[in-house]
């Protein structure tokens, strides 16, 4: 990205945050919210994050690598287990980074 595109992204992201956090605070009751749509909105963020995470964890050197020789996948599994056990993002990051570092040094 060029510097101009990066600043456009920053300004755009600011507007996105301002707008999404204020939709109802500005429109209030004038905006009807069907239950079906509310449910859909509830699921979209998890889907977006899963779509961003999958390639980061499962693709290695440009190819699909669903094996434990893939350091990032291995660390991701350890991190996910930690999150499910502790519900702490800090602990998840510590365990995940420890697994990632160990895998990098121990598995070639």
């Amino acid at each position: 990205m060029t510097a101009l595109e990066i600043w456009a992204t920053i300004i755009g992201l600011t507007l996105v945050t301002l707008i999404t956090r204020n939709v109802f605070l500005v429109l209030g009751e004038r905006l009807p919210m069907p239950e079906r749509l509310q449910h859909g909105l509830r699921y979209a963020p998890a889907c977006a994050l899963a779509a961003l995470l999958a390639p980061e964890l499962l693709v290695q050197h440009g190819a699909l690598a669903p094996t434990l020789a893939n350091h990032k996948l291995l660390a991701g599994v350890a991190a996910a287990a930690t999150m499910l056990a502790t519900r702490s993002i800090a602990a998840t990051m510590v365990v995940g980074m420890a697994a990632f570092t160990a895998a990098r040094h121990l598995i070639v």
């Binding site: 699921y43 977006a48 991701g76 991190a79």
Partner: protein
């Protein structure tokens, strides 16, 4: 003097405002460590993605939405078009639309400018802490001085801690060796944020489909695979939701 300009000149009102503000700060205190770590990692990740220090400062001070920033960074690194980055961030931010609906009964009495400011600074943790505290408040008390200054206390604490650690991250990023893979810490944090969102069968079905489509469509031009994955995942989640509802009402 500072107290007077912050909380107003009327002594009893100022005391109530200050007490409510402090209660808000205390209520959010247990979450501040996670906020700090997440801010630090975001600060580092912005610089590691290739943003200059000024761009990273601009991003943290203006955008103030960690998950959206983190979601944007891999797309910025992949040279995706600006509109694709914004579309992905909008979807990640859709949960705020629901939060804003939750906050509306409490803030409806306030002028637009104050609503905009409070809405803008109220992110995930602040909304959760506020709603946990006042969900059962009687309807005629909603938006009371006590509640709004509690929310101000919560959001001020988060804003300060987030910005301080994020800015620290921006300035230490350069001295962290690349081989530590600290940008990967951002991915792990994102993973930690995502898992609690997958708390139902429709969410699990949607997230799985989104992940599979994202992998299958990884080579789509303009990073459009992400867009396709979100649409497919959300559609499957909603369809699963409807199907489960039917099963329940049939059985």
């Amino acid at each position: 003097m500072i107290g007077r300009s912050l909380f107003g000149g009327d002594a009893s009102l100022a005391a109530l405002r200050r007490a409510s503000f402090v209660r808000g700060v205390r209520a959010v205190a247990p979450a501040l460590l996670a906020t700090g770590v997440w801010g630090l990692v975001t600060g580092v990740a912005m610089v590691k993605t290739g943003l200059t220090e000024w761009q990273a400062l601009g991003m943290t001070l203006l955008v103030f939405a960690g998950t959206a920033q983190m979601a944007a960074l891999p797309l910025v690194a992949a040279d995706a078009p600006v509109w694709v980055v914004l579309a992905a961030a909008t979807v990640v931010n859709l949960r705020f639309v629901i939060f804003s609906a939750t906050l509306w009964p409490y803030l409806r009495r306030f002028p637009l400018r104050k609503r905009l400011l409070l809405g803008y600074v109220t992110a995930d943790i602040a909304a959760a802490v506020f709603v946990a505290r006042y969900a059962d408040a009687p309807e005629d008390e909603r938006g009371s001085t006590e509640q709004v200054w509690f929310l101000l206390g919560v959001t001020s604490a988060i804003w300060l801690v987030w910005q301080a650690w994020s800015i620290a991250g921006i300035f230490v990023a350069g001295s962290i060796p690349g081989e530590w893979g600290l940008d990967f810490a951002a991915i792990l944090a994102l993973l930690g944020l995502t898992l609690p969102m997958i708390n139902s069968r429709p969410a699990a079905a949607g997230a799985t489909v989104a992940a599979v489509v994202a992998l299958a469509a990884a080579n789509f031009p303009l990073k459009l695979g992400v867009v396709a994955a979100v649409i497919a995942g959300t559609a499957v989640a909603m369809a699963t939701d409807v199907a489960l509802d039917r099963l329940r009402s049939a059985g």
